[in-house]
């Protein structure tokens, strides 16, 4: 296993910059997810680690060695492709053992090793079938087996679960999680599914328009999203974002918006800096931190727009006077009717504030933020 490092890596296709001066350092044995919407540069970044794209500038290091100009075959890496790329003319055993064949291993050794890996992945009884004769989940495991069959320094995954149905995806996700911790492999995993990234990663790199917006452990990303983009991308449903106007009153700040009542906040250093740029801020609250309340303090008011029952809990959405919507995750027992006027209350410590540019305003005492 080995570490991976990006040093100011840029990749342009004509006038389009897919990856823009990215610096990224992935430690030995880490499971890093590159998360972002399509076109954010996550797949291009992964393909540059594999050697399937060459950076326009910058360097890529694996285990401390500069591999920027190295052919994929010389990088000692494994990769699982989104479409699995199983060779239709080879049976499952030959597919799994192909990396050993190009390494000049004997037929005997190849098949023994394929048998062994296939056993771990529970496809041992399919070895003589062709890829077209097995299910999607089995194809996915075959492509995983092909990646595991030889020792690699880094394991790359390009949305490997996106072609599976929901149930299989959960199952495969759990298995991957177990496998990575078990083997201690360095894994880099591209996905646009935030839940997948949260579940698997030791650290997530959230990407937007070719840049890394935040690179942190999942819980950090969830609790302290660096920007409104991250706040909006992570969490299902995502964080509610409400534009507010801020006014400093002595040592405290009063935030106001239509239907929102909020106790004054202490004027922190971060707030002061943000207010210097302008009075418009964004208030963020996660749906699970909202509850139906009668009290006016620290709450958002509006008319109930939808009530979606998810079993023990419900997603209730209100429409505010300016037609924007706020969603709360509440216990189904808290009964509310569509059309009635409601208030969603929250605790002040669950509020995240973003400045006019969408960057999170740090609280007092947060080091280095």
């Amino acid at each position: 296993m080995a570490s991976v490092e990006f040093r100011s890596v840029t990749k342009s296709f004509g006038s389009f910059t897919a990856v823009d001066h990215v610096d990224l350092s992935i430690g030995d044995g880490e499971f890093v997810c590159l998360l972002g919407p399509s076109g954010c540069g996550k797949t291009t970044s992964l393909r540059m680690i594999a050697g399937l794209e060459t950076p326009s500038s910058g360097q890529i290091l694996i285990g401390g060695d500069d591999v920027t100009g190295l052919h994929p075959k010389d990088r000692q890496i494994s990769m699982v492709f989104q479409d699995y790329a199983l060779y239709p003319h080879m049976n499952i055993a030959d597919n799994i053992a192909y990396p050993l064949k190009v390494r000049g291993e004997s037929q005997e050794k190849r098949h023994a090793r394929a048998q062994e890996v296939a056993g771990v992945l529970k496809i041992g009884d399919l070895l003589s079938r062709l890829p077209s004769q097995i299910s999607g989940g089995q194809q996915q495991r075959t492509s995983l087996a092909r990646a595991l069959v030889y020792p690699s320094r880094v394991y790359l995954f390009d949305e490997p679960l996106s072609n599976l149905d929901a149930k299989l995806r959960l199952e495969a996700r759990g298995f991957l999680n177990h496998l990575q911790r078990d083997m201690g492999m360095t894994a880099i995993y591209v996905t646009h599914d935030q839940a997948e990234a949260m579940a698997l990663a030791t650290r997530i790199a959230v990407m937007d328009r070719g840049r890394i917006v935040q690179y942190a452990p999942p819980i950090e990303i969830y609790r302290r999203p660096a920007t409104t983009f991250v706040a909006n991308f992570v969490g299902n449903p995502p964080m509610n974002l409400v534009p507010v106007t801020a006014r400093a009153e002595g040592d405290s700040v009063r935030l106001s918006a239509d239907g929102v009542t909020l106790a004054p906040l202490p004027l922190s250093a971060g707030l002061k800096a943000a207010l210097a740029a302008g009075p418009t801020l964004t208030l963020g609250v996660r749906p699970e931190h909202l509850s139906v309340t009668e009290e006016a303090d620290n709450s958002i008011g509006g008319k109930l727009f939808a009530n979606e029952n998810m079993g023990p809990e419900s997603l209730v959405t209100m429409e505010r006077p300016d037609a924007s919507r706020v969603t709360a995750r509440i216990f189904t027992d808290d009964h509310v009717e569509v059309g009635e006027t409601v208030r969603f209350g929250f605790a002040p410590e669950h509020v995240t504030l973003f400045d006019g540019a969408g960057t999170r305003i740090p609280r007092d005492g947060e080091a280095g933020l």
Binding site: E53, T54, P55, T68, G69, P72
Partner: protein
Amino acid sequence: MKQFSLLSRRAAALFLTPAGLLVAVFVLLPFFWVIVVSFTNRTLLGVTAVHPDFVGLQNYIRLFNPSTFFTRGQFGSSLIITTQFVLLSALIGQALLGLLLAWLMQAIPPALKRAVEAAVIGAWILPEVVIGFAWFAFLDYDNGTLNMILTALGLPRGDFLLQQPFWVIVIFNTWRGAAFSMMLFNSAFSSIPPSYFQAADVAGASSFQKFRDIALPLIRGHVVTDLILITMWTFNVFTPFLLTHGGPAYRTELLSIYNYRVAFKDFEFGQGSAVGVIIMLINLVLALIYLSIGRRRSKAEREAAAS
């Protein structure tokens, strides 16, 4: 830094070499050589075979000589015969018959459909000399199947290859090539979602109305493709030679057959090349129309897909 690609440029150049050489020598070179030879008096035999003279536009002037232009067996007459042949056998015969067959195929039982398709496609895939011989036998005056049927029906028999040679090759080429149009339109029709026709059925449309109002507008692109392709192929076809040799009395001498006679019967390579240049010019116009339509359509498709 060297860009990664699945095949390096050096390897790609190597991969392209065999095909490139063959195409250069047997497609590109003939294109330019025929132009060069058309300005000479090169022949197959004699002094001018080895040392041809440059004669300027003389070959072209001879082709377009107004006093003989329309004479049977001369260039102008052949050009007119070819134009009529293309109009009647391709644009009208093959396209209309193909369209009719394809439309009928949508509405008939599968077994009958397979049988009719077998006959139509059989006419198209069999080697041209076999087809030539088959028609030679079919039209035979004394024993041919056609005259046998006419006699049985109480109609007068005819020596069609002598009496109506032009109409024989028109019908012959329509028969030979209708399969392509049929298959093209067949696949065009089957690409139309059945729900379109079912909606029209619900609205009470007749077969003809469905054809005119739904099918035809939707396959317009295929019609254009079909017309240009069959025009190009029919314009260059040599197969009627196998039935009539261009005769009798040059009455079926298409440009391709005229070119063959001038070059390989009269051994006038310079003159034949001039004919070849004119055929190529007409081909070029047709091909440019086809490719520009194809490009415009794929561009429109890309834009439609992107929106």
